[in-house]
Amino acid sequence: MPAPAQRRIIFQHIDEPGYTNDLACYLRHGGYANLRQAVTRKPEELIDEVKKSGLRGRGGAGFPCGVKWDLVDRKSGKPIYLVVNADESEPGTFKDRYIIHQDPHQLIEGIMITCFANNVKQAYIYIRGEFPEGARILEKAIAEARAGGFVGPNILGTGYGCEIYVHRGAGAYICGEETGLIESLEGKRPYPRIKPPYFPAVLGLYQCPTIVNNVETLCHVKKIVEIGGEAYAKIGTPNNTGTRILCVSGHVQRPGYYEFEVGKVTLGELLNEVCGGPLPGRRFKAVIPGGSSAKVLRFGERFKGKRKIGNDLVDYDWGVEDVPMDFDCLAMIGSMGGSGGVIVMDDSVDIVAALANINEFYAHESCGQCTPCREGSLWMKKISARMVHGEARTEDGALLKSVADQIAGRTICAFGEACSWPTQSFLAKFGDEFKAYPESRKAAAAPAVPLA
């Protein structure tokens, strides 16, 4: 069976010849019609549409967007803020870059609909520091939208006003964590906050109720308002509605971004057909399906169990290639859909070196606030780097796993899981290679492609 066709609703115009990121082009393509329509409706209706749509956040956790909006404290009398998480940072993920660069007005329209629905008067787009061009594009687009009456004090003559400002980060993965991002936006070190009590929906930016949504998520909101929550919920699969942008990188013939209905494409179809399979003469060895913190899958392993389809419990027996790319199936097999970043490694890869590379990233990005993550992430980096560059010991694999086990579930924020899941899963899946490493490393020639 050939892979299903892509369904581009968010990336509809990405890479379209002649499509430019200015307002005129956007308007020619029907832009801001959804905002015009939204501001004539009751905000509660719009929130209802999003709830009906079943939209789950595209930033990494897959939390239902409508529920997130529902949790916002609307009785405090304090202003409600929207913070757009454009700090796309999970290695392997690069979807938001293209939305921002090529279709910024789609994002702005999604932001304004969300603001109107939630009575937000001030939105901030927190964009990662590594996107200076993206920040300029957004600022220009916001200025155009302001001039066009889509952003600012009196939107489309309704008397409703809402401002958007772009706020640039400066190279910190932890700012993707929503409370770290809020601290950063407040001008402090981006130390994630303890929850309880600091849930953004209640005590967020400036201790006011705050919604933090990912760039792609907000584009989906625009689409939901366009076609209605129920119609949107028919796209994709139950509980995994809409489309998903899958970013494929690493060892495939055609890396890139592909938008599919959620759950309609399997990992095998994605990698073998859509992305053209492994590089010449190579075989797939491992794949990380949801950004570098997601647990790694080893080609050849099988996943068995029962899953609910409709009202029935159905047996499944999948190889890696058979796994549908949706939140629930990936969670079922012990990994996650995360941010949609699929990183592929073929049989040329020294798996210990790959983990050393990942560990270096997380050790570099740990904010250092809480003990297990601060000390554990660097320790794991030191162990795996020593294995690659110095003296590897047969017991190092077990030690690595033990260190990771002392982090996950015990930290202030989800970075604890993000930094320990790679080690835990690499050891679970490739424990044999770690154990054999002291010998295999001596035997092997210098790696063709150094990773650490």
């Binding site: 999970e90 290695p91 001008g187 402090k188 890396p255």
Partner: protein
């Protein structure tokens, strides 16, 4: 602080974007670094005074974010992405090639003051790995051959300037 008038104008413009002045810390540091090239200690104190903070509040922030520098760097800043997707496609070799081309090691300024080469973490363009940012511009699929081309271009531009 001897900042350009346009920098000062942009600083004045950005502070009211926030209900709390402290929020303007990152924007001000970006503007100053774009103007001065780095964040001298004087700038930390200037920002603190401007935003009614203590200098330590700004210093804590400057040192947290790798994009802020407390020392001048080369006229051109070559940032090679080190993270997994880029590494899988040869980022370490790309970085080493840049180092060889300019006779520097990571984090150093070339003898002529022209180039600083750095390894950085994920630039979020993993599908076109390995990627390199030279100043604000992203360069995709920078293999060894492309690295040499880009290095040559940097040298040409330096020669043209002098």
């Amino acid at each position: 602080m001897n900042l350009k008038p346009e920098t000062l104008a942009r600083i004045d413009e950005v502070i009211p974007h926030y209900p709390s002045k402290r929020s303007a810390t990152l924007p001000l540091l970006h503007l100053i670094q774009e103007d001065v090239g780095y964040i001298p200690q004087e700038a930390i104190e200037w920002v603190a005074a401007r935003l009614e903070l203590q200098p330590i509040n700004v210093y804590e922030v400057v040192t947290f974010y790798p994009m802020f520098r407390q020392k001048p760097i080369g006229r051109r800043h070559v940032k090679v992405c080190r993270t997994l997707s880029c590494a899988l496609l040869g980022a370490y070799r790309t970085c080493e090639t840049f180092e060889r081309e300019f006779g520097v090691r990571r984090g150093e300024v070339s003898a002529d003051g022209e180039v600083t080469v750095d390894f950085v973490e994920c630039l979020a363009s993993c599908g076109t790995a390995p990627v390199v940012m030279i100043d604000d511009a992203l360069h995709e699929k920078v293999d060894v051959a492309r690295t040499q081309e880009l290095s040559a271009q940097i040298r040409r531009e330096a020669a043209a300037r002098s």
